[in-house]
């Protein structure tokens, strides 16, 4: 179907264009030129369209609100991408969690300043003096969206589900500090009876209707925060009866604890949410209805936004410069101040020739992050040399510029010191998309200019890249990390320990290992932070497999009528601006 090949057997007709003269070809070519001219005029023209908005018709009634005060009511349509799983105890995708977070909520949540706040719980968990027992008290009379009681049983079931081997949750490892969780999760090949014993040994139990207790193996400063994340959100155990049962594939068959509930769902097309009046947060959602329209291609989504078919969309960052200079859209484009993601040159540093730290340093120093960001990435991101985002540990993003930042002379010196020959074979493996290809073209040109090396570029699709990465069969790739929770620990634990589950770049440093272990169990905020500052420094200066390039920022187009979304846009955004606090969205009058 792709080759569009013309079936030759069928084209046995001989008369086409026989008598067509020379003038005809010229005519055809001329009209093609007219087409091209038309295209230019269209593309250059001001395509602002001020037709009546179709996506946001305010249906609110009542008194005229004071400007800036949220009003109840209204329906909106926004862009989203199809979820891959609606099961919060299983999924690992930002787009999934974004949608789940609109209809499910946990015992706790993080607020705009990333501080833990009780949501379904009454107060923050009580932690025993040895740091190993967490006691949680839930609000009384909690209800699911169908009116059924939401009790501590449901909260306990969530942990049983996330640790369940059959569910095979992709974030279960975050709960492995719970007594018995890892043992239960890895028991897939054991008999049901053995699994049952392991389930009973799980360190989570219901104390009464509204309270539960969690026992952990080791004290962990960041354990409490896990209770605010999606894999800990209570399970509607009157719908999903046993923790290991399959999650309904149709979200309309579920019941909900969040500010909205699912009204209808059409696979790959849209998800319609309406207010959940049983939501137990600080206030009910303002909007009556949110329609998530699934659009994978961002240029399509942005055109629909331009055409007033959507009130919010991810911005197509390939055209960020055009969007910014647009008189109307330029004002409607927003981004969170803090970025949850860092991308870097990832180098397999335990295999020749990149086991040579000087070579890694030379590559890092030969990379002009500022120009890369400005030219290739449309000035979207923040160039950086620190791996852990500066705001988490109180350092600046250019803190290591002197040692590993762009400096052609230093790069040449490092390269000479490394003793590596100029004809060294280095291969950069990238994903097949326009941005990555541009980055590759940029690096190839720049490294050639500065170091005289000829970088090979190999392009593959996402699963192939991931496989190469996990099998550690690559030399250089561009990838990074997106934080799961706002704490320095999430940026390094398992990523830089020798043999860590997420360390696929051969970083191995006994000093680092030691510090990582100490910091994880440290309950003192001050010294913990200091330890992470040291860890960050060790990673940067040895370029332990990772030379940070830029903090990635995400841009959204938000119609000015839609309030609350851009205001709550933080590093917690999962797919859309402020989507983790969807109850705060409202329509301006």
């Amino acid at each position: 179907m792709l080759t569009l090949s013309v079936p030759v057997e069928g084209t046995n007709t001989q008369e086409e264009y026989r008598a067509v003269s020379r003038s005809k070809l010229m005519f055809v070519l001329g009209l093609l030129a007219v087409f091209a001219a038309l295209a230019i005029s269209v593309a250059c023209g001001d395509d602002d369209n001020s037709s009546t908005p179709a996506a946001g018709n305010t249906t609110a009634s009542g008194t005229t609100p004071v400007a800036g005060t949220p009003t109840k009511g209204g329906e909106i349509t926004v862009q989203h991408r199809p979820f891959r799983s609606f099961d919060p105890h299983f999924t690992a995708f930002g787009r999934d969690i974004s949608q789940q977070g609109m209809v499910f909520r946990g015992l706790y949540k993080l607020d705009k300043e990333d501080k833990m706040q009780p949501e379904l719980a009454v107060e923050l968990p009580k932690i025993s003096t040895d740091g190993k027992t967490y006691t949680i008290k839930m609000k009384p009379n909690l209800k699911w969206s169908d009116g059924a009681a939401l009790t501590a049983k449901d909260a306990v079931a969530a942990f049983q589900r996330t640790c369940n081997p059959v569910v095979a949750g992709q974030y279960s490892a975050n709960l492995f500090n719970i007594v018995g969780c890892e043992e239960y999760y890895t028991s897939a090949k054991k008999t049901p009876a053995e699994q049952d014993t392991l389930l009973k040994a799980l360190g989570v139990r219901q104390l009464d209707d509204t309270s539960l207790e969690i026992k952990v193996k080791e004290p962990q400063a960041t354990f409490a925060i896990q209770l605010a994340l999606w894999f800990s959100w209570p399970l509607p155990s009157h719908v999903v009866k046993a923790p290991g049962d399959a999650w309904p594939t149709d979200p309309t068959q579920l019941v909900f604890s969040g500010p909205f509930k699912v009204q209808s769902y059409k696979d790959k097309d849209n998800l319609v949410l309406v207010r959940n009046d049983n939501y137990a947060g600080p206030h009910l959602a303002y909007l009556d209805k949110i329609t998530l329209k699934y659009i994978e291609d961002l240029e399509t989504a942005n055109n629909a936004y331009r055409n007033s078919e959507l009130l919010m969309s991810r911005a197509n960052q390939a055209n960020l410069d055009v969007l910014r200079s647009d008189p109307k859209l330029g004002k409607e484009i927003t981004s969170a101040a803090k970025s949850p993601s860092v991308q870097g040159l990832t180098m397999l540093s335990n295999v020749k020739p990149l086991d040579n730290a000087k070579l890694r340093a030379a590559l890092s120093q030969a990379t002009d992050r500022v120009t890369l960001n400005k030219v290739v990435l449309k000035d979207a991101n923040i160039p950086t040399t620190t791996w852990i985002p500066g705001d988490l540990i109180g350092v600046k993003s250019d803190v290591f510029d002197k040692s590993i930042g762009y400096n052609p002379d230093a790069a040449k010196k490092s390269f000479a010191d490394s003793g590596v020959a100029k004809d060294v074979k280095l291969t950069l493996t990238i994903l097949d998309d326009a941005q990555n290809k541009d980055i590759a073209a940029f690096l190839k040109e720049q490294w050639n200019k500065t170091l005289g090396i000829d970088l090979q570029v190999e392009i593959v699709d996402s699963p192939t890249l991931q496989k190469k990465y996990e099998d550690e069969k690559y030399q250089i790739i561009i990838q990074g990390w997106t934080q799961d929770y706002p704490d320095a620990e999430n940026w390094v634990d398992g990523l830089f320990n020798t043999g860590g589950p997420n360390n696929h770049y051969g970083c191995s440093d006994s000093k680092l290992d030691d510090l990582l272990k100490k910091a994880k169990a440290n309950l003192n905020e001050e010294s913990r932070k200091a330890q992470y500052v040291d860890i960050n420094k060790l990673i940067a200066e040895n370029i332990c497999g990772m030379a940070p390039l830029y903090q990635q920022r995400i841009f959204y187009l938000v119609n000015p009528k839609l309030k609350g979304a851009a205001d709550f846009s933080t590093s917690q955004d999962r797919y859309l601006a402020g989507d983790w606090a969807v109850e705060e969205w409202y329509l301006a009058k």
Binding site: M1, L4, P7, G10, T11, N12, T13, Q14, E15, E16, Y17, A19, V20, K24, L31, F35, A39, V42, D47, N49, R84, A92, F93, V166, A168, G169, Q170, S172, A173, Y185, T186, A188, K189, T249, K266, D267, K268, K293, I295, T300, A301, N303, A304, R306, N307, E309, D461, S462, P463, T464, L465, Q466, K467, K468, Y469, W481, T482, P501, N502, H504
Partner: protein
């Protein structure tokens, strides 16, 4: 003829089996699995649990026989990426893709035939020139570029149509995708119709009819178009198959939830279930359309016997 159709239908079974087998082993030969398409790499513990959950830790031959056993019961398994049965995904997407394909096909047929007939009748006239231009430009510009132009002009500039979605019966959402998808085949049909018309126009019986004083209009409709349709019919089958199985570009450009886009996505995220389901579906469609064309050809051309 019934016997012929039944015999042909029976050959579908080994054909589909062969397609399934080929797809199964080829797709497993491609590096990376369904869990490598995520935002992050998985830890070995998680990967082991996932492989166990979806039966991917069995040996390949064993997975193959499990798959064949399920297939025999009409069960295509589970979509790894969508956590839904594959049959449901196909059931949801196929009607949309079929509607889009039929609309594009009708557009291509009506537009292409009209253009071809009109330009053949006006051979070397201005209308003929314009039709040649259209036929050439339509076939020479990739349809993702055409889609962009259509959206820029007719949605954003004039505001006549919506940018996204598909709704059967709603022209605001139907026109642009159908045109963008149908332009290439329309151009092709126009070319073939024109050529075949010109050939028929030279036949003796046309001359005879003309000599007998049959009016030009009647002549064209009664004698020429009918006879010129045979080669068009031959390509109609493959064209229709291409429209159904090849609409992924348009589905993506207009955010239409069909099986075409699902299929391309599935290939890129190694969603084995969907790959298998769509491949079999497409193979079946192609086989059926081939059969339909052969049968139709026999009906139109009585010289062909089965």
């Amino acid at each position: 003829m019934t016997g012929y159709i039944i015999r042909r239908l029976l050959t579908f079974i080994p054909l589909l089996w062969a397609v399934a087998t080929l797809t199964f082993f080829l797709m497993h030969a491609v590096p990376g699995g369904p869990f490598d398409a995520g935002d992050k790499a998985l830890s070995p513990t998680t990967r082991a649990a996932l492989n166990k959950k979806y039966g991917l830790d069995d040996s390949l031959p064993r997975q193959y026989f499990t798959f064949l056993g399920d297939l025999a019961h009409g069960d295509l398994g589970l979509s790894f990426q969508r956590a839904r049965p594959v049959t449901d995904v196909l059931k949801d997407g196929l009607p949309t893709t079929a509607q889009l394909g039929i609309c594009a096909f009708v557009f291509a047929l009506v537009f292409g035939l009209t253009l071809g007939v009109v330009s053949a009748v006006n051979q070397n006239g201005v209308i003929d020139y314009i039709s040649v231009l259209f036929a050439t430009a339509g076939a020479a510009v990739p349809n993702f570029v055409i889609a962009v132009f259509l959206v820029l002009v007719f949605s954003l500039k004039f505001g006549w149509f919506d940018v996204i979605g598909w709704e059967f019966g709603n022209p605001r959402k139907m026109v642009l995708p159908s045109v963008a998808l149908g332009l290439f085949p329309a151009a092709y049909i126009a070319r073939i119709t024109r050529a075949s018309m010109l050939e028929v126009l030279r036949q003796d019986y046309v001359r005879t009819a003309r000599a007998k004083g049959v009016t030009e209009f009647r002549l064209i409709l009664r004698h020429v178009v009918r006879n010129a349709l045979v080669p068009v019919l031959t390509v109609a089958g493959p064209i229709f198959a291409t429209l159904i199985t090849g609409s992924f570009v348009i589905e993506r450009a207009f955010a239409i939830p069909g099986v075409g886009d699902a299929f391309v996505n599935a290939v890129f995220v190694r969603d084995y279930g969907i790959i298998m389901g769509t491949t079999l579906l497409f193979a079946l469609i192609i086989a059926i359309l081939n059969l339909v064309v052969d049968v139709a050809y026999g009906v139109v051309d009585p010289r062909i016997r089965f």
